[in-house]
């Protein structure tokens, strides 16, 4: 699980959904990267991802990793954002029976987890029903 520096480094992505758009072919890299995997170009511009999309697939984690033990069971899914980028994240405020492939969701800023009572609190994006 992240160290303060590893968490902090991804803040533009975790808080603001900053991505890199290839100036040559339009591929959107999230997180941003140095080389376009599609056209090998090195020129990118910063863009912000769309804030809503539809569920591609989902699961309910019942055997969680330790930092998430208080949260289980929780739903995690892959969402196709309206700009074509796919994100993985928890799906919350939705009864498990209502989860389905194709359901529309939007992004909200939430606590992802915290390192016990004394550690850093990690914030990021999650999905809620639209």
């Amino acid at each position: 699980m992240p160290t303060p520096s590893r968490y902090w480094r991804e803040i533009p992505q975790r808080y603001r959904l900053e991505a890199g758009k290839c100036k040559n072919c339009g591929f959107i890299a999230f997180p941003p990267r140095l080389v376009c995997p599609r056209c090998q170009s090195r020129a990118f511009e910063t863009i912000i991802l769309a804030d809503a999309g539809k569920i591609v697939s989902y699961t309910i984690i019942r055997v969680p990793p330790k930092p998430f033990s208080d949260q289980a069971p929780y739903a995690v899914g892959i969402v196709d954002l309206d700009d074509g980028v796919r994100l993985t994240g928890q799906i919350v405020e939705c009864a498990f029976e209502e989860l389905k492939i194709g359901k529309r969701v939007k992004i909200e800023f939430r606590k992802v987890y915290e390192e016990g009572e004394a550690g850093v609190i990690y914030y990021g994006y999650k999905f809620v029903p639209e």
């Binding site: 697939s57 984690i61 055997v63 899914g77 994100l87 990690y122 990021g124």
Partner: protein
């Protein structure tokens, strides 16, 4: 390029080996392979191991294991590609022999997973996934494959029962394998009623945590004829990568890296899927076996579940898959798996598989995979 043969195989009994350290587990299997080949000294050692650092706090395995095997100052390397570490080690060994750099190469795979708590083991396995964009959100390994399973079920109508049938088949085969971690049968009901891990996958859809090792001795074919066992050639080695995050894939129901690795292997061997007599695939989860069957071209896309149901891949079927019991019943000491798959195929092609023997096995294929399909290694073997 020279033709490469496997002249020795070795594997110990897999399970929770409390009494044995990593170095001991590895050395035992390696000695079995050396004895099987009738070789005392090797020109090179390649070891596949995913995460000895996280599991037992030990890196620098190349030298440690070369020393414990009594082979120092042999050149040695440890390779890693998550759960495909073993397959990758085999590929590296194959390349050394084929290129002429080394004659006799020992390829080994090992993982010692039980010296840490379940949570720590889960964390170590999670390092095969994208730490910052998958694990950070609470996704686990079973969770990743559960996402693939649900999408596969929605897109192709694959059923929960068909997934369970993979586990039933592999346990049935595993019950005939004295080295397997769980050498017993299970019924569909038992699988379907086992505790849910990540919907829709249950505990019996998942491969276990295991300690174990496996090893092979490779040499050029001309040399092989001097050794005692029937010559089995490695006629192809194919490897391919893909983005490790599942969300980066175009189609999460399809394992592109396996398709690409297999394409390269088939081309190298001059073979087609129909030519293969038996296969050892990476069934880390039941859905994985189904997706891999499709990516290998055994069946059409989406038809994997039905094929399992129809018995295409049972021990008596047209193309037995995982005669060894697969990862599910045999166990999955991560770095060892890819090597153990080859051990099984070689034994089968030599006619040494006992009650698991597939009749007239002449051409076999192994498929080893890392993470949720971020890397795949495919090898094809042929009996002389």
């Amino acid at each position: 390029m020279r033709d490469v043969a496997v002249i020795g195989v070795g594997m110990n009994k897999w399970g929770e080996l409390w009494e044995k350290s990593l170095r001991q587990v590895f050395t035992e299997a390696a000695l079995l392979a050396l004895d099987d080949a009738g070789v005392d000294k090797v020109d090179s050692l390649i070891v596949g191991c995913m995460s000895s650092g996280l599991f037992v706090g030990q890196e620098h395995l190349s030298s440690l294991l070369a020393d414990y095997l009594g082979q120092v100052p042999v050149p040695a390397a440890r390779v890693e590609s998550a759960c495909a570490s073993g397959g990758l080690a085999l590929r590296m060994g194959f390349i050394e022999v084929a290129s002429g750099i080394s004659d006799v190469v020992l390829v080994g795979g090992v993982e010692k997973m039980t010296d840490v708590s379940g949570h720590e083991a889960t964390f170590a396995l999670g390092t095969a996934a994208d730490q910052e964009y998958e694990c950070f959100h609470g996704l686990t390994f079973p969770g990743l494959y559960a996402l693939m399973a649900r999408a596969h079920m929605e897109k192709y109508g694959t059923t929960r029962e068909q997934l369970a049938m993979v586990a039933v088949k592999n346990h049935s085969n595993g019950s005939l394998n004295p080295l397997a971690q769980y050498p017993f049968k299970v019924s569909i009901e038992t699988v379907l009623n086992s505790v849910m891990v990540a919907d829709p996958l249950r505990i019996l859809d998942c491969s276990p945590i295991t300690d174990g090792a496996a090893a092979l001795v490779l040499c050029p074919v001309e040399l092989a004829k001097k050794f005692k066992k029937p010559v089995v050639r490695i006629v192809a080695s194919g490897m391919a990568t893909d983005a490790i995050a599942l969300s980066s894939r175009q189609d999460i129901t399809w394992i592109e890296s396996t398709y690409q690795a297999a394409k390269r292997a088939y081309a190298m061997a001059g073979k087609k899927p129909e030519d293969i007599d038996l296969i050892e695939v990476h069934d880390c989860f039941t859905i994985a076996e189904i997706c891999v069957m499709e990516a290998l071209g055994l069946v059409e896309k989406g038809k994997g579940g039905q094929a399992v149901q129809d018995g295409l891949t049972s021990l008596q079927g047209k193309v037995p898959v995982n005669a060894s019991g697969g990862l599910k019943a045999k166990g999955h000491p991560v770095g060892a798996t890819g090597v153990a798959q080859a051990v099984e195929i070689v034994k089968q092609l030599r006619g040494e598989a006992g009650p698991r023997q597939v009749k007239d096995a002449k051409i076999g294929l192994t498929q080893n995979m890392g993470g949720s399909g971020g890397s795949s290694v495919v090898h094809i073997f042929e009996r002389d």
